[in-house]
């Protein structure tokens, strides 16, 4: 089994209202050294051994469902590779 974590965030050019609010809150804590916060979410996908082309499968799921490319972008990392 292979577990892949797909991260989805707003594109840098898109205003992230949650990120802006959290940045303000961090500044209230006194941490002015934090310039900005980007909020996103991740999806952990567990692939079974039937997967033949992992990268292609991830790209297909991301582009057709998990990501709205009008405003979002994604990257991923393999957490647990098949043995």
């Amino acid at each position: 089994m292979t577990t892949v974590r797909i991260f989805v965030t707003y594109k840098p050019s898109v205003f992230d209202p949650q990120g802006a609010a959290i940045t303000d809150a961090i500044h209230t804590l006194g941490h002015d050294e934090v310039g900005s916060v980007a909020v996103g979410r991740f999806f952990d996908l567990s692939f079974n051994d039937e997967v033949t082309d992992l990268d292609a499968a991830i790209k297909d799921v991301a582009t057709k469902l998990l990501v709205n490319f009008n405003m979002e972008t994604y990257h991923y990392q393999v957490l647990e590779a098949a043995e």
Binding site: Y10, V14, P17, Q18, L65, L66, N70
Partner: protein, 227 residues
């Protein structure tokens, strides 16, 4: 003109849309479940507001996979009329029938109030009973209604007169170019965040939504060869 109102799990403005056509306008309208595969015999389809599939993933993202969606897409391609309000607008963008996306309001607040809108394009099948430049009042009720598209897409919308409604005065959600509603290039698909179906009787607080549905009923029905 026979009209379908699609009912998704989590739709909550389907009755408002149905009654606007049925009770107020006496039009031929039917509910159609998201489970159905066909819209044969219908001339227009309405995608209602609400929270289809619990707004999981993104608003409208899961509804795009419902059984009925290919039939909705076919109606758009056939030149029949497709209308989405609020969650219906979000579904239309997720389906790719309209460009861009609806993102979380800049304020992060759910905004529920009546707003002023400017009718920007009175040449569509949905707005012929309005006048260009007219200010109307319609309710909005959404948390994810901030229209976003890249600058090139926005420019194309403006160049082709696809911006149909704009917020007048205060922009309630951060929409680019104050966009409240857009149509496709052909003009037979309209999506908007405000709720015209909630403004069709004086008792409801206003009737500025009525001309939208009356405009639609004025249209000639489109028949495909298969029919």
């Amino acid at each position: 003109m026979k009209i379908a109102v699609i009912v998704f799990p989590g739709s909550n403005c389907d009755v408002d849309l149905y009654e606007a056509f049925h009770s107020v306008l006496g039009a031929d309208v039917e509910y159609v479940s998201h489970r159905e595969h066909s819209l044969a015999g219908f001339d227009a389809v309405m995608l209602p507001g609400g929270f289809s599939y619990g707004d999981y993933l993104r608003c409208g993202a899961i509804a795009r996979f419902a059984n009925i969606i290919p039939a909705v897409r076919q109606m758009a391609e056939d030149g029949k009329f497709v209308f989405g309000t609020c969650n219906g607008f979000q579904i239309l963008t997720e389906m790719g029938l309209l460009p861009g996306a609806l993102k979380q309001n800049d304020s992060m607040q759910f905004v529920c109030k009546t707003v002023d809108l400017t009718v920007v394009n009175d040449q569509t099948a949905f707005t012929s009973r309005y006048q260009k430049g007219q200010t109307i009042q319609l309710p909005i009720a959404h948390g994810d209604g901030s229209y976003y598209a890249d600058l090139q897409t926005i420019q194309q919308l403006e160049d082709h007169h696809q911006v149909v409604f704009r917020y007048a005065g205060e922009n309630p959600n951060g929409s680019l170019h104050d966009i409240a509603g857009i149509c496709n290039r052909q003009g037979n698909v309209l999506g908007m965040m405000p709720h015209p179906e909630r403004a069709v009787e004086v008792l409801l607080g206003g009737t500025d939504g009525l001309p939208l549905f009356q405009s639609l009923l004025d249209q000639q029905t489109v028949r495909t060869e298969a029919e």
